[in-house]
């Protein structure tokens, strides 16, 4: 196949591709000169391109009810970025933000003021309120992290720059149509394996990067009760694309996404005060998001980066919150697995509105909660569109 060398398929080399990808990307921000990476803890091959900081294109959204002391540890990695702090609980409490951070803070009064009656879709007394931060952000990317998550160390003992890894994940394509047994083929030191069709090697845009947790793993209440001492000590050095048609439990503790691509689908539902359920906010968002990503041809990655999760919440409190979810989940999963969106839905908003119709039609009979949730989903989209008028155009392509 000598003509392969003379005319290599332009889809072939991922290095050629990443050049093409960046220069053909619909978003002009990709063609900015690449800024040097904040830190590069990798000991990889010499031809590593530095990861862009994206400091003017990414907001860090943090829900909190206590304090933001954890930011001190993250300072070397987070300080260049703008923070959006969503203060849950008592709005009269003053949340102290460590010096030197550029931030905007919203408490419940702010949310009510900005959204008016539509504020009903934003949860109270639950970290689900964080999605308000997604709505008011003006940036292309969001990284969200819980206030009990700290910097983890990799097996060599180096601090893990979680944000840098999320950016790498989001800026490189996903491969949802065929499984690559060597995981993310775009990582340094990896590639597509024998048998991987060449026509699929260009990949698709990555919408979501789902990170993991060392120390306290994200278990549900029953598992926590049975295994209170279990800690996640296994560092799995992989990022992989979750295949099309496959659902997963999305955890909001360490999550990044392309807000312009998938933002309206990242509604974290009705949880907490006055609601029959808690700790299913991120799950709900993840299932809706995945159905929409599969429909629109976007990718979702999971794996690195790890953060260090320090706080195990009270399993009995969790059990009370999750209880209904554990039962409802059995209906929700077949619902999402069987959900199909019509061809006419070409924007995230139209997909989401269609999904809310289906939620009402099929899940309303499971519990009246889902009727309320379906309405809240529509309220969310209305509020999103009001605050983000330019994103009503079709995304992506």
């Amino acid at each position: 196949m000598i003509d392969f060398f003379i005319n290599p398929p332009k889809l072939y080399s991922k290095h050629i591709f990443s050049y093409i990808y960046h220069s053909n990307s619909p978003s002009s921000t990709h063609t900015k000169p690449i800024q040097s990476s904040l830190s590069s803890n990798t000991t990889m091959a010499s031809s590593v391109t530095p990861t862009p900081l994206l400091k003017d294109e990414l907001d860090i959204v943090i829900p909190t009810i206590r304090n933001l002391d954890f930011l001190e540890m993250w300072r070397p990695f987070f300080q260049p970025y703008h923070l959006i702090i969503v203060q849950d609980g008592d709005p009269s409490k003053v949340i102290k933000v460590p010096e030197g951070f550029d931030y905007e803070l919203y408490n419940r009064n702010d949310i009510n003021r900005i959204l008016g009656p539509k504020a009903s879709c934003i949860s109270f007394k639950d970290s689900a309120c964080r999605c308000f931060g997604y709505m008011v952000s003006k940036k292309k990317y969001i990284f969200t992290i819980d206030d009990d998550c700290f910097v983890a160390k990799d097996p060599s003992g180096n601090d893990i720059n979680a944000l840098e890894q999320h950016i790498k994940n989001l800026l490189s394509p996903s491969t949802p149509f065929f499984f690559n047994t060597l995981y993310d083929p775009y990582r340094e030191g990896a590639d597509f394996v024998r048998g991987y069709p060449f026509s699929l090697r260009e990949g698709v845009q990555t919408a979501v990067s789902h990170g993991l947790w060392l120390n306290i793993p994200d278990y549900d209440a029953p598992t926590q009760l049975v295994k209170p001492r279990e800690r996640n000590t296994r560092f799995v050095d992989a990022v992989l694309t979750i295949p099309k048609g496959t659902l997963f439990p999305m955890c909001g503790m360490n999550l990044a996404f392309d807000r312009e691509l998938i933002g309206p689908a990242m509604y974290f539902g009705l949880m907490g005060d006055g609601q029959p359920i808690g700790r299913y906010d991120d799950m709900w968002a993840g299932w809706c998001m995945k159905v929409i990503c599969d429909h629109l041809g976007f990718g979702v990655k999971t794996g690195l980066p790890y953060i260090w999760h320090s706080k195990a919440s009270n399993p009995f409190v969790n059990l009370r919150k999750e209880y209904k979810g554990i039962y409802w989940q059995e209906e929700l999963i077949p619902f999402f697995q069987g959900a199909t969106l019509p061809k006419e839905c070409t924007t995230v908003q139209s997909c989401y509105k269609e999904l809310s119709k289906q939620v009402k039609a099929k899940l309303g009979k499971v519990d009246d909660y889902f009727n309320k949730l379906a309405d809240a989903m529509l309220t969310w989209i209305e509020a999103w569109d009001e605050l983000n008028p330019s994103t009503q155009l079709p995304n992506g392509k």
Binding site: Y219, T246, M250, C251
Partner: protein, 350 residues
Amino acid sequence: MSLVTIDRNEVDIVIGAFRSDLTSFLEEWRPIFSRFHLIIVQDPDLKEELKIPEGFDFDVYSKSDIDKLVSSSNASMFSGYACRYFGYLVSKRKYIISIDDDCSPAKDNNGAIVDIVTQHITNLKTPATPLFFNTLYDPYRKGSDFVRGYPFSLRSGVPCVLSCGLWLNLADYDAPTQALKPELRNSRYVDAVLTVPKNSLMPMSGINIAFERETMGPAILPALKLAKEGKVRWETMEDIWCGLVVKVVCDHLQLGVKTGIPYVWRNERGSAIDSLKKEWQGVKLMEELIPFFQSLKLSQEAVTVEACMAEMAVAVKKGMGRSHPELANAADSMIGWVKIWKEVKSRDLV
């Protein structure tokens, strides 16, 4: 999760031999293999007698054994890389582990030698979870579990029938990739095994696999022969085809496929550039095979592996088999294999 015990009577290790002197290969694997029974199948084109060191419990099968057991028309099925399938056919044990003869034991991140037998059998003896993705990978591994949000009704999993291992050093890249990046070596040991989700196809590499022979035997077969098939992995697609078939069957019958650990260390052999010069048939074929297999639907009535194979063979022949003679042959091979499998098994029972 309690440790899985490996009963040596349940395991056969099948090696296809392309070179006659297996001494250094087997010496390297001695600490891991010596406890188990080996089935060594000699490539029919290899004329010299095999040299096998002392201390192993093994059986060797050569061209004459193949000719004796199967008809001459079927004997051609077992040439080249496909010779190892003869070993699967004659085995009487529950699990098969098969690796290429250019692989050595690998070391994990702690410097310990990877015992591929224990890991493969553990993968096969613990359930797979294809119906919902667990973000902490295999929940049955020690120190792991199902995460929050994983439906409880799906936590018992399904039987795992295929375990696909990986490779350090020379990974299973295709010839163009290796030729363009001659320095590319896989040095990343990813300490995970995970289930390949339902309806997701993947390229199965025959370099390092294990499977449950009693269930899957009829589906693990050498069907696809390329016109210029060679003796290096860059010049064959038989395992890739086999993997697509197996995955469709597994998805239909609610069985599981795992991928990840164990790793082997794969040594240099052959020239990617030389392989590139041959006809690039396999690579071109994949472009059509993937959509074909992705859209393949088996009927409700197909409730056994054999029935699934029969339906697939018909679909292949009617579909792509029309324009691609090698696929029509593959379909015939699938039917032929199921027949041979049945025959050999019934002879064993007599």
